[in-house]
């Protein structure tokens, strides 16, 4: 495996030299603009640039770029190691998160039925109680609650129309597939939050299209449709790291990291890290 980088950033060059022996399933092309050189189509494309969420989604929409690593973060090497570990995974990338998390990191996870009639308020009361016990400040609590609400809504909205039909006489082992999970972990002045479902049906291009479109909206001209990307826009803005993992027809994980010590303003304007992994 080869890592190609033709930019001029000495910090990244140094890290890449140290990683020359690592193994990854494909060649990796790291670029500083979204223009991928011709002949490099087959491989993993990573953009090395500082971007807010709108710039990020615009850059990866309609392109082969599926990873973005920001330049201006302190722990570039750690970000890069995480990227490589993600590429080496053969299954859904939960294991990668676990390697990032300190042992015993406070964690709360809740399963929820994938149904329009879900009691979201009761679900989120559990999340709120967990955060308040950990003395998380009120503005972050609001952001996490809003993010979890939108993530759960997305799981329900994005569920394949046919899922009930697929499990007409479900046994208990099949029944579990119509439950989603939302998970919140506190570690190193950050909150990791993600939603998991067992459909594995998310369409990344659709999601990117909607999020970019939602950024451009300054009014809802009609009866705005649910699923217009507004929810994704609202949650990704607050995240420093954004993850979308897809195990086709098996699992989807969407989530990210909310920094605890930046305040909302700096978190929103921070450069975003993004990984989309499909296995």
């Amino acid at each position: 495996m080869t890592i190609h980088y033709d930019g001029s950033d000495d910090r990244l060059k140094l890290i890449l030299n140290q990683k020359s022996s690592i193994s990854a399933p494909q060649e990796i092309f790291i670029t500083e603009t979204k223009d991928i050189p011709q002949g490099h189509k087959n491989g993993i494309h990573c953009l090395y640039a500082d971007m807010d969420s709108l710039e990020l989604f615009k850059s990866i929409k309609d392109s082969d770029i599926r990873h973005v690593i920001p330049k201006n973060r302190e722990k570039l090497e750690s970000d890069f190691d995480f990227f490589i570990r993600l590429l080496q995974q053969k299954k859904l990338c939960l294991e990668c998160f676990e390697t990032q998390l300190p042992y015993g990191a406070p964690l709360a996870q809740f399963t929820f039925p994938i149904s329009e009639t879900i009691d979201k308020i009761a679900l989120h009361q559990g999340i709120k109680d967990f955060l308040l016990k950990k003395n998380i400040n009120s503005s972050i609590v609001d952001v996490v609650l809003q993010s979890s609400y939108e993530l759960v809504s997305n799981v329900i909205y994005d569920a394949p129309q046919s899922y009930e039909a697929r499990f007409p006489n479900s046994t208990s082992s099949q029944q579990i597939k119509v439950w989603g999970k939302i998970c919140i972990v506190l570690y190193n002045e950050k909150i990791l939050i993600y939603a998991l479902d067992h459909f594995g049906s998310l369409n990344l291009d659709d999601m990117l299209e909607k999020v970019v479109s939602a950024h451009g909206k300054n009014s809802l001209q009609t009866d705005g449709p649910v699923g217009a990307g507004i929810g994704c826009k609202m949650i990704f803005e607050h995240m420093s790291d954004i993850f979308v993992f897809l195990e086709d027809k098996k699992n989807t994980l969407v989530g990210g990291v909310i920094p605890l010590n930046l305040g909302l303003l700096r978190a929103r304007s921070s450069s975003k890290l993004f990984h989309f992994i499909q296995v």
């Binding site: 009120s138 809504s153 809802l220 705005g224 649910v226 010590n261 305040g263 303003l265």
Partner: protein
Amino acid sequence: MQLASQHGNTTKIEIGPGYLSLGFLTSLDQKLFKSCDKVEMVFSENSMLTSEGIVDWSKWIHSLPILRADQEKKIPMIHLFQCPVSVTRQFDLLINNAPENFVVESFFVPFFNEESNEAKSMLLVRDTHFTDDSLQIPQCLDSAGNAMELDVVPKVYFSFLRKLKKFP
């Protein structure tokens, strides 16, 4: 919990804490809006706007006579009180359809102190802290008495004050 009531020519809607599922607005008796001059909408500081709430709001706005030029109806003004941060942040989506029909009477502004990691929000009130073309943000202190900083981009967050020329 939401309450709607009519007092003379004013319809008052009180919106309780929690997620702002605004679907109830479209289910309210539309007479409440058609027979009044003024709508007062009072939020709770702890109410939180979701994307579904934005869609519900949009449906409600489009159901009102304010956007329907074909109707012979005087236009009710909608006064917004105690708008929480999550609502104020989305003013561009919520009130841009008919900005002349909305009056923001009071709204919360978030502050943050990086050293103490404390966050707080402060209520700004029309004619005390702001008008359509002026804004005076009082100093906000954390629990140790240290000054806190605005936790928003002023030009974006206060953009609903359309005549404001100088941002903090």
